[in-house]
Subunit: 429 residues, 2 copies
């Protein structure tokens, strides 16, 4: 690698523009740390004239991002457009094929095409780096690939979506509904103003879990559908009941190997307040890694936003400048096989169930009998009457039972005319 | 670097022997990850015949560790003897001079001679790695050097000594005295049976803080005396009063830049229970890094023991095998200057003071007047009478004030005949 490094930056949204500024400011620091002089010689974005927080040099602007790598001699390209396919994929593909190192925070792209793109990088002996794709500023991928390199990891889980975590924390502290808090989150810039769906339905966290799995277990990224549930249906009522039960509700992403089979999932969890992640609030992210011989390792930090994301993007840049050519997924693509997928129907879990019922004799007995028929035993039961409406909430925490059975059971219970709403099911961590 | 890598291992205590076993077990995994075949071709320890948990190959045993590097062709040497000088220093010095990469968990050696040894490594273009020297299994040095490489770090602090943290946690939960809990800790292997002093007096944590400072602020390791206080004088009484004040007492190591001046210290702190590190219990370690643009980054994990320490030692080995020749302290020795040291006399801090006094009229007024004379104002005051002995405990939390003034004040107060013991002073975090 030459002493002078040419950089291209594609995508000038919030993160792109912050990164542009950071690169300019840290040029000297980077030269001290790596001996390389860096220069941004090409940028591209949808709109050159958009009002931006930092000034950009329009002389190096390209309308078509593909032109930068065609016309200029680029060493490192930042892809910060953020699509899972389309131009993002095409640009990264072409850059790697031209032996250009690529750095991206694009979790959707990596979760979907990471194996394919990684293999292009490997064949061309360049780096594809994506530290910023998971948990923003927390250097968790580097920690798994390097810091914990010889550990046998059994499980990796955590709070991976800052938007969801902010909303759940804020519902708890302000006693406001999901809808009201979402509006506040959008105003504060913690949730996308247009379409916050990918953050709220678990998709964003699941992309991150897929990347974490592949690195933790040295497997290809799983293509199979995983269990994915978001926070859109979480009611303030459940958050308050959870609180009385000494619990919090959090959106958690979990990946583990059960007898060698991969089990990936994202869903809201009821978590005892004594548990570390129950207390990770606001837009913070946290990742917990269980490995041998390391034991439990926790990393916590800001999970999103231009600052932390740029910190991760810059760490990738320094890694490249230091000349560390590496396998994008820690080991050679030839050694990474497809994961065997765990059959979720076998899984035993404790469940929180809430039924809204008519407050009539026999209703409770009806529910508990239905559960008993499917061998679902009750660990804890609370009935909260609402005298005014002659209704009641029945909350049941089950012992470990098959979720499949519980779901059949709930379906049957719902048919009864005394059951007023679809029951709520939240898994315990 | 050849495909076949020769390893020497010097020191077969608890950690050395565990590492020996790990290296044997992970040979194949390491080959997959790095393409290198590793072989242990030399070991050395005080006693070849000592009973050990794992079997060692006596054919490769050397009585004198220096003979290994003289007689064998070694690529990587593990120094696990643990002295700050003597044979540890000599061995590392000679190995690096012979272009042998060195890995060590020896914080005392690195804190004392790290700059000197690092410069030998740099001149000979080999690696000196010491991830295991700070916070055991938590890859915090790698995180600072790589994951947060372009951040401007202002402060790094945390719980860095597992022995002290275990004792303080256990005093709180069992309501037993320091002495009793220390005996238990020694039985459980959490404190050295012979001489636990270096863990308890703050020395161990201060060595780690010195290493963290040098990496965080890109300076040489400070030679100046820092503020160092251990937990030997912490009484159960203070832990219980702290609890009533919604606080915990923890041994904390702190390093920060105050207007460009380095301020390093290790001492017990009174920490509000809402604070993250107040809840890090038992033998766990935690490091908090405050940087820009990353914000606050937290790393928590097991801080000691053969498993976590071996995990860190192995991550160093993989880093070397992957061919990453690096500056031991992140940047070239030529760019690291001596830190300017903060004048502690200027520091303002809130203090917890406890006085044991005769329960007589005028004593409280005497104390508060003495404090007022030195401009030390009281934020909170609690008097707990002990009617039986006609004595009382007076607990004062001060507003921020100069510790120097407080100490002069305490000295004067102690002279009064109604003050029964030397007052207790604990800093607030």
């Amino acid at each position: 690698m030459n002493k002078n490094i040419n950089i291209a930056l594609v995508g000038l949204g919030q993160i792109g523009i912050y990164l542009y500024d950071q690169i300019q400011k840290k040029r000297k620091d980077i030269e001290i740390k790596t001996g390389k002089k860096i220069n941004i010689i090409g940028i591209s974005a949808k709109n050159i004239n958009k009002k931006r927080r930092f000034k950009i040099d329009k002389k190096i602007f390209f309308k078509n991002p593909l032109d930068i790598i065609k016309k200029k001699n680029i060493d490192v390209l930042f892809e910060i457009i953020g699509q899972s396919d389309g131009i993002s994929k095409k640009l990264v593909e072409e850059a790697l094929s031209k032996k250009i190192n690529v750095i991206t925070p694009n979790k959707a792209l990596i979760a979907k095409h990471g194996d394919y793109l990684g293999s292009i990088a490997e064949k061309n002996k360049v780096n594809l780096e994506f530290e910023a794709a998971v948990a923003g500023g927390i250097p968790v991928l580097r920690t798994i690939k390097e810091g914990l390199a010889t550990n046998k990891i059994q499980k990796v889980y955590g709070i991976l979506n800052g938007t969801s975590n902010y909303i759940l924390s804020e519902m708890m502290s302000s006693k406001k509904s999901f809808k009201d808090v979402l509006i506040k989150a959008q105003k504060l810039g913690y949730a996308e103003p247009g379409n916050p769906k990918l953050d709220l339905n678990g998709y964003d966290a699941l992309s991150k879990i897929k990347i974490l799995s592949s690195l933790s277990f040295n497997k290809k990224i799983s293509k199979k559908n995983s269990l994915m549930e978001g926070i859109e249906k979480i009611e303030l009522k459940d958050i308050e009941i959870a609180n009385q039960l000494n619990c919090r509700i959090k959106l958690v992403g979990i990946s583990e190997l059960i007898n060698g089979y991969l089990f990936e999932r994202v869903h809201p969890c009821l978590i005892n307040k004594d548990n570390y992640i129950a207390n990770v609030n606001g837009v913070m992210n946290a990742v917990i890694i269980e490995g041998n011989p390391i034991g439990e390792s926790i990393l916590q930090g800001e999970g999103a936003g231009p600052g932390p994301t740029s910190s991760a993007l810059m760490s990738d840049l320094l890694s490249i400048l230091r000349g560390n050519v590496k396998y994008p997924f820690g080991i050679s693509r030839l050694k990474r096989s497809n994961p065997k997928i765990y059959n979720y129907d076998k899984y035993l879990n404790s469940l929180y169930l809430r039924f809204e019922v008519r407050d009539k004799p026999g209703v409770l007995a009806f529910i508990t009998k239905k559960l008993a028929n499917k061998n679902i035993s009750v660990e804890r039961l609370i009935q909260k009457p609402n005298y005014k409406n002659k209704t009641a909430s029945i909350i049941i925490i089950t012992h470990e039972s098959k979720e499949k059975d519980a779901k059949i059971c709930l379906k049957n219970i719902t048919k009864n005319k005394n059951i007023l709403k679809s029951p709520v099911l939240i898994r315990l961590l």
